[in-house]
C-alpha cells in the first residue's frame, strides 16, 4: 500500500467529516498530492515510527477543526479572539503538548488543504526551483520545518539556518531533518525571529505563516530584508481574514502585505492569494492564504 493510500484509508475510516476536504485537495492535483504524501508523510513516518499516520492525521483533523471553529467565532464577533502575543506565547508556542499536536497538524496542511497544495506548488516552481545551487537559506518560524526541508531536498548544495520561538518546533524540525537525511545541512535555533541581526548575507529567506501572529508585522519584513544579501529572495506567506487561536494581526486585503514588504526595502516579484474550496455558509470573510515572492532591493525602486 502506498503512503497516500494508507492516509486516505485512515481518514475515511476514522475522520469521515474530514474526508471531503482531503478528497478535494487530491482532486486538484493527484500526482502532486500523492508525491507529497510519499515524501512529507514518509519523513514523518521515519521520525515518529509506528502510528505516525494516526498521530499526524489526528493532529491535522484537530487543527483544522480548531481553525474552522475560530473562523465561525470570528464571523460572529467580527474580530480575532486573541490580541496579546504574550498570552498566545504562553498558551500555544511554549506549551509542549499543545504545540507538538499543532505543528504536526500544520505540517499536513501543506498538501491536505486544497489551497495550501496550490501554495506548495507555487513555492516549488517559483522559489525553490530558482534558488542558487549552493544557496544559504534562512527560515524564520520554521515550525515543523517542512518548507525549508523541502527546499534542501530539492537543492542538494543548499544549507539552512532556522529560528523559531517554540521549543517544540526546534525538536520537531530537527527530528524531521534527521528523518529526511538532511540534518547535516539544516540547523535550528530557539530564538525570537524579530531579534535576528541584519547580517545581509542570506541568498534566500523563507517565512511562512508568522506575520499574522505578530503585534508588529512591519518589523518582520525589516528582519527579512536585513537577513538577505542584496538581490536575495524571500518567500513569505500570511493569512488574511483567517482566524486561528494564535492569529493576532487581522490582514484584510492583499495590498497590506505588499505594502509592508515594499516599505521594508523589498521588491514584490510575484504573489498568489488563495482561499479554501468552501466557506462557512453566509461567510463575510474568505479565509485566505497569500504568498509573496520578494527580492531585496538594491536601488531605490528595484
Amino acid at each position: 500500500m502506498t503512503v497516500a493510500a494508507e492516509l486516505l484509508a485512515y481518514v475515511k475510516a476514522r475522520h469521515p467529516r474530514s474526508w471531503r476536504g482531503v478528497e478535494e485537495a487530491r482532486a486538484l492535483d493527484t500526482a502532486r498530492f500523492d508525491a507529497y504524501a510519499e515524501l512529507l508523510l514518509g519523513w514523518a513516518i521515519r521520525a515518529l515510527g509506528d502510528g505516525a499516520i494516526a498521530r499526524t492525521v489526528d493532529a491535522f483533523v484537530h487543527f483544522t477543526s480548531d481553525v474552522n471553529l475560530a473562523q465561525g467565532r470570528y464571523e460572529a464577533d467580527g474580530r480575532y479572539e486573541s490580541s496579546s502575543y504574550r498570552e498566545v506565547y504562553e498558551a500555544v508556542y511554549a506549551d509542549r503538548a499543545t504545540m507538538d499536536d499543532y505543528l504536526w497538524g500544520v505540517y499536513l496542511t501543506n498538501f491536505l488543504w486544497v489551497h495550501h497544495l496550490e501554495i506548495s506548488a507555487f513555492y516549488e516552481a517559483r522559489f525553490v526551483a530558482r534558488l542558487p545551487e549552493r544557496a544559504r537559506l534562512v527560515e524564520l518560524a520554521p515550525g515543523h520545518g517542512g518548507w525549508g526541508l523541502l527546499a534542501l531536498h530539492r537543492r542538494p548544495g543548499a544549507t539552512l539556518a532556522g529560528f523559531d520561538i517554540s521549543p517544540s518546533s526546534i525538536d520537531i524540525a530537527r527530528s524531521l531533518a534527521r528523518a529526511a537525511g538532511l540534518a547535516d545541512r539544516a540547523s535550528y535555533e530557539l530564538r525570537d525571529a524579530l531579534t535576528l541581526p541584519a547580517a545581509g548575507d542570506a541568498d534566500a529567506c523563507i517565512c511562512n505563516f508568522l506575520v499574522e501572529h505578530l503585534e508588529t508585522p512591519a518589523r518582520l519584513f525589516e528582519v527579512i530584508a536585513g537577513a538577505l544579501a542584496p538581490g536575495g529572495r524571500a518567500f513569505v506567506s500570511g493569512a488574511l481574514t483567517a482566524a486561528q487561536v494564535d492569529h493576532i494581526h487581522e490582514f484584510r486585503r492583499e495590498s497590506e502585505l505588499v505594502l509592508l514588504a515594499e516599505q521594508a526595502g523589498l521588491r514584490v516579484l510575484e504573489t498568489l492569494s488563495v482561499g479554501p474550496a468552501r466557506t462557512l455558509p453566509g461567510a463575510r470573510h474568505l479565509p485566505r492564504s497569500m504568498s509573496l515572492l520578494l527580492q531585496r532591493r538594491t536601488r531605490e525602486h528595484w
Partner: protein, 82 residues
C-alpha cells in the same frame, strides 16, 4: 442509559436545519458517515447552532473529537448542567 435524553430530542430539528433535510432522523449511533453533507465545515455550523440553542460554549478540543450523536448529546447534557 435508560433515562430520557432531552438533548437528543432537541437536536433533531437543528440537524434538519443545518443539513437542510426535513426527513433527517438522528439516533445516538448516527455518525458523519450516515449524514449527507456532514463535513468539517457543516460540523462547525452545527456546533454554533447548538451553542446558541442551548446557551453553552464548546471548547475546540471537544468539537474536534466528537464521534457520534450520542457523544454530542452527552456533552450538551454535561455542559447545560454545569
Amino acid at each position: 442509559m435508560g433515562r430520557a435524553m432531552p438533548a437528543l430530542d432537541e437536536l433533531a430539528p437543528l440537524f434538519r436545519q443545518v443539513f437542510d433535510d426535513d426527513e433527517l432522523t438522528v439516533t445516538r449511533a448516527t455518525t458523519a458517515a450516515d449524514v449527507e453533507g456532514w463535513d468539517s465545515l457543516t460540523h462547525v455550523t452545527l456546533m454554533l447552532a447548538i451553542e446558541k440553542r442551548f446557551k453553552i460554549r464548546f471548547k475546540s478540543s471537544q468539537v474536534a473529537s466528537l464521534k457520534d450523536v450520542g457523544e454530542l448529546a452527552d456533552l450538551i447534557d454535561a455542559l447545560t448542567r454545569s
